[in-house]
């Protein structure tokens, strides 16, 4: 028997034309839909582009970049948050490069290059237009590149990696808050924080602190001890019952009463953090509970059979598997929390959203624009939030694939 050699498909079945026919013009209805949608998209994109380039007045956004980024943080100390960004990028780059060397770390690399490119772009802008932060941005860029380079060329640091992260985060906090005195490291009180800095601080704090709280609540909910179980259920269900904005409002009303102090003595940031963290913990608990339920009972029984204590079983056998299963969900929750920080205006904080919504439109210069400046500002804010959350949601999907959670 003679084998017929492989041949390419006929010319009409490959290349761009075949693709077009398959995907856009496979039938009369499809062709009509394609043409209608195509012209709609083209027209919309054309109009959007024209508005962005010629119609919109981006001047208010551009002029208020400092407000949007750090609000009332002293301008002469603006280098500190920028260096903090550099530290974070350095650590991310380090982890990404270390992962790359052993053929993993695709997700971290993606995150590193996404946010790194933003920093490098801002450095470029600073070099051209922002003389006051030029050096700081340049340093941040150098740090981010250095982190990646160290990870790539000195693979031995892999052992120090977690220690470096553990040291890096306090450094970031110290950089932002300051140490004392009145020089370069003067303390910048939280009342002066604002803008994107505040948004990131609230989101990061909320996620980090609510993580252990959420795990504790989830374990408490599955506990055999009725007192702990019903307390956890009650807490989770009541908190989840009402939306975040009401908890923020309640926090601003109730925290001074609950602690019996003058309303002004509790910083707005504290109230916001209390509300955001407790709220996030309740949701975290439900997500973790989902993970706990996904661990087969056999695992528990096997661990007990091996002589592990109840606490050891939970800590060494159940939790690692449970958390691994819910990592993508937790990333999703982090995204949600990042978006929800836009509600802290209720307690009187000036986060990124509040500055765009209230501070900039009420400036005298902004009032000169006919029709206001909110259209441009809301488009800009939407883009800024999207830039961050979109990358995180890509990472969540990659994680899902890597962990095989999505496929069962």
């Amino acid at each position: 028997m003679q084998m017929i050699p492989d041949r390419l498909p006929p010319a009409g079945e490959r290349g761009a034309i075949a693709w077009l026919r398959r995907n856009l013009f496979s039938g009369t209805v499809n062709a009509i839909v394609s043409i209608a949608l195509g012209s709609f998209v083209a027209l919309s994109l054309f109009n959007l582009g024209r508005w962005m380039l010629t119609g919109a007045s981006w001047q208010p956004v551009w002029n208020n970049m400092k407000l949007l980024a750090i609000y009332r943080y002293p301008a002469e100390l603006a280098w500190r948050p920028i260096i903090a960004v550099g530290v974070l990028l350095m650590l991310t780059g380090l982890t990404a490069a270390l992962g790359q060397r052993v053929g993993k770390g695709k997700i971290m690399t993606g995150v590193y290059f996404w946010f790194g490119s933003l920093a490098w772009f801002l450095t470029l802008v600073a070099l051209i237009a922002w003389p006051s932060v030029r050096v700081a941005w340049l340093l941040a860029t150098l740090m981010s590149v250095a982190g990646y380079a160290i990870g790539w060329y000195v693979p031995r640091v892999v052992r120090a990696q977690s220690w470096l992260w553990a040291a890096g985060l306090p450094i970031v906090l110290v950089l932002i808050y300051g140490v004392g005195g009145s020089g370069s490291f003067a303390v910048v009180g939280t009342s002066q924080w604002g803008g994107f800095l505040l948004t990131v601080v609230i989101a990061a704090f909320g996620i980090t602190v609510s993580f252990p709280l959420g795990i504790a609540l989830a374990l408490g909910r599955r506990s055999n001890l009725p007192a702990i179980k019903y307390f956890s259920i009650g807490f989770i269900e009541v908190i989840r019952g009402a939306p975040l904005i009401t908890w923020l409002f309640i926090a601003s009303l109730m925290v001074p009463l609950l602690l019996d102090v003058a309303p002004d003595s509790i910083p707005a940031l504290t109230r916001a953090l209390v509300a955001v963290t407790l709220f996030s913990a309740a949701y975290m608990a439900e997500n973790v509970r989902g993970g706990l339920q996904s661990v087969p009972n056999g695992q528990r029984e096997a661990a007990r059979a091996l002589g592990l204590s109840g606490w050891q079983t939970t800590r060494l056998i159940v939790l690692p598997q449970a958390l691994r299963a819910v990592i993508p969900v937790l990333v999703g929750q982090a995204i949600g929390l990042f978006k929800d920080t836009s509600l802290v205006f209720i307690v009187g904080l000036h986060d990124f959203f509040e500055i765009g919504r209230r501070v900039i439109p009420s400036q005298p210069e902004s009032l000169l624009y006919p029709g206001g400046v909110l259209l441009e500002i809301s488009v800009f804010m939407a883009f800024a939030y999207f830039f961050f959350t979109y990358r995180m949601s890509i990472a969540s999907r990659q994680l899902e694939k890597e962990l095989g959670v999505g496929e069962r």
Binding site: R240, D260, G310, R357
Partner: protein, 609 residues
């Protein structure tokens, strides 16, 4: 055997899991109770010091909160309780509509994400990606302050869409059907028609089963239903008894009057005095009202000629329409000139006595000779029509220049009330309540919406003065919040739908293709019904999310429960009670949704087996 004897009979209590558990619980309970006690003590002492209200007694006092969006009658004079109830109803109002629209949009986009068409798929994907990853708060201010607020104002140039729709910065107005005069007479017919529908359906089903041939039962039943209800409609519309003019009177609300049966004749509406929307009325403008007005003119507060705008009537809808200016000797000199008959009139001084308006005869800035003129506006011959607005109140002539200052409005309102006593029964007194004071225009505005006595009334929106009248209206706040909620929630519903459809095994598609079903049949008969089972539970939790997200309403100035509660908390200082109220309201809503979810889950579980 030897091994078991080694084990001690009793476990020491400090290693007994049960004892330890009990101990842990006791310690935990003590900590919780202690914490609560400390916090409670703090709260009570703080409340005692600050003398803020800690109970709910303030619920019965006057709220004084103006709310633009009110599903039930409400004035700022009403109580806090009523204001909060309005807030709760508004939450439901936006949640119900939002849930329906978000489901439609979300399922559509979810299906589009799996389309064969590349463009459609990409558009759906990017719609989901972009809008899901942008905070809802940003989307709300985009729609509210950036998109809808920049539309043309209602007063000058609303966008008129086909079908009688109007779109402007005040929101969207569209034609709607309201129960009319004869509706009450029609109701028994409808009940009868429904009963007949059920009977015919049952009988036909029995017949079809007995005949052992395929057939549909519902067409005959529907026919019977339509026949009875249709007949009823015409009978009710034709024979509806129109009540004699009642002794009606006004309570004054900003911009509109409320008709009620003045049972005890004191000229003020008590709680138990029924509101009447449907009465034939004669509208007269009381002397007092006009005098107040002319006082204003004499004080030279108004510079423009006084323009009267009269009811929105269409040709042939009325039999006679009569405006006379009565009273002092001067009054003979004044007439009404229709600038845009019969919707807008202008009082002019007929200087040459020919009874026709000439240019320059407007009542001038000083309002010379205008003092003390009584104007009588009579709408007669409405044997089949009634004068009423959408809220069941009567729009009476607002002989008040729109845009007067607040204290003037108060004066005029008082004058309107005092004028009530001067006229006999069966008359309505013009009460010059201010129209919305944000419109700066020196017009004397009078709007009366005329309704027919039919069982149902087709009401079209119009802009008689400065805001919409008639039809059904979505305010700008409502519209912006609804758009943002629907568009945002739909992205999540789209993802749920997509995942649900993908979760149906591929073999199902192949099997149905093998059976010869078309693509559409495969989807609608095989895939989607199975996907619905997977989709529904997470969808319901998205409905709950939408409802909870409606608490972002303050960003769009929409008065739902959270927005009202926040205002109430600021006004009364009742932090603790308001906190309790907010939490309870949302817990009730959450429990409702989990109740629905449990029912759905139970039903799906039965289907599965």
């Amino acid at each position: 055997m030897a091994m078991t004897t080694d084990v001690p009979e009793r476990i020491p209590f400090w290693r007994n899991v049960k004892t330890l558990g009990l101990l842990a619980q006791i310690i935990f309970a003590i900590i919780v109770v202690a914490a609560i006690a400390i916090l409670w003590n703090n709260v009570t002492s703080a409340l005692a010091r600050s003398s803020l209200p800690a109970d709910f007694s303030w619920l019965g006092s006057r709220a004084g909160i103006p709310i633009g969006e009110r599903p039930i009658p409400y004035t700022p004079d009403d109580t806090y309780f009523r204001a909060l109830a309005i807030g709760f109803l508004n939450t439901l109002k936006i949640a119900l509509v939002g849930v329906v629209l978000a489901s439609i949009l979300g399922v559509g986009v979810g299906v589009a994400r799996l389309s064969n068409n590349f463009l459609l798929r990409q558009i759906a994907t990017w719609y989901v990606e972009i809008l899901r990853n942008t905070p809802l708060a940003v989307q709300i201010i985009f729609w509210f302050t950036a998109a809808i607020a920049t539309l043309p104002p209602t007063i000058s140039a609303p966008i008129r869409l086909p079908g009688g729709l109007m779109f402007s910065n005040r929101g969207l107005a569209f034609p709607a059907i309201y129960p009319g005069f004869g509706f009450r007479d029609w109701l028994p017919w409808i009940v009868a028609a429904i009963a007949l529908y059920a009977i015919v359906l049952y009988v036909r089903r029995r017949q079809i089963i007995a005949s052992e041939r395929p057939g549909l039962a519902w067409p005959a039943a529907l026919l019977a239903f339509l026949a009875v209800s249709g007949t009823g409609y015409f009978v009710a519309s034709g024979t509806a008894t129109i009540p004699e003019p009642l002794t009606v009177d006004f309570t004054v609300e900003r911009g509109r009057g409320v008709t009620f049966l003045d049972a005890n004749g004191n000229g003020e509406r008590e709680r138990d005095e029924a509101l009447y929307g449907f009465v034939p009325v004669t509208v007269r403008v009381s002397e007092a009202a006009i005098e107040t007005q002319s006082t204003n003119l004499n004080e030279q507060r108004r510079i423009k000629p006084s323009v009267l705008r009269f009811p929105v009537l269409e040709e042939g809808e009325y039999e006679s329409f009569d405006v006379r200016i009565l009273g002092s000797a001067d009054a003979e000199r004044f007439s009404v000139h229709w600038t845009d008959a019969p919707t807008a009139g202008l009082i002019f001084e007929d200087r040459n006595g020919d009874g026709i308006y000439q240019e320059g005869e407007e009542v001038d800035a000083d309002g010379v000779g205008f003092s003390g003129v009584r104007t009588l506006l009579t709408i007669t011959g409405f044997s089949r029509d009634l004068v009423s607005d959408r809220d069941g109140g009567i729009r009476i002539p607002n002989f008040e220049p729109v845009g007067t200052q607040e204290e003037e409005t108060e004066e005029i309102q008082d004058a309107g009330r005092s004028g009530v006593a001067g006229f006999g029964p069966s008359s309505l007194f013009g009460s010059p309540a201010g129209a919305s004071s944000d419109e700066e225009e020196a017009v004397l505005d009078t709007t009366v919406e005329i309704r027919s006595s039919g069982a149902l009334v087709w009401s079209r929106p119009s802009v008689p003065v400065s805001n919409y009248e008639g039809g059904f209206r979505f305010t700008a706040s409502y519209l912006a919040l609804l758009l943002a909620l629907v568009i945002y929630t739909a992205t999540f519903i789209a993802e749920i739908t997509r995942a649900g459809i993908m979760a149906v095994p591929k073999g199902q598609t192949e099997a149905s293709k093998a059976l010869g079903l078309s693509g559409r049949q495969t989807f609608s008969l095989v895939i989607f019904p199975q996907a619905v089972r997977i989709i529904l539970p997470p969808m319901i939790s998205q409905y709950l999310n939408l409802t909870k997200n409606s608490s972002l309403a303050p960003l769009a100035a929409y008065a739902e429960i959270f927005a009202v509660s926040a205002i109430v908390a600021n006004q009364t200082g009742a932090s603790v009670p308001v906190t309790v109220l907010i939490i309870v309201s949302y817990l009730v809503i959450s429990w409702f949704f989990s109740f629905v979810l449990n029912i759905v889950n139970a039903r799906l579980a039965i289907v599965e087996r």
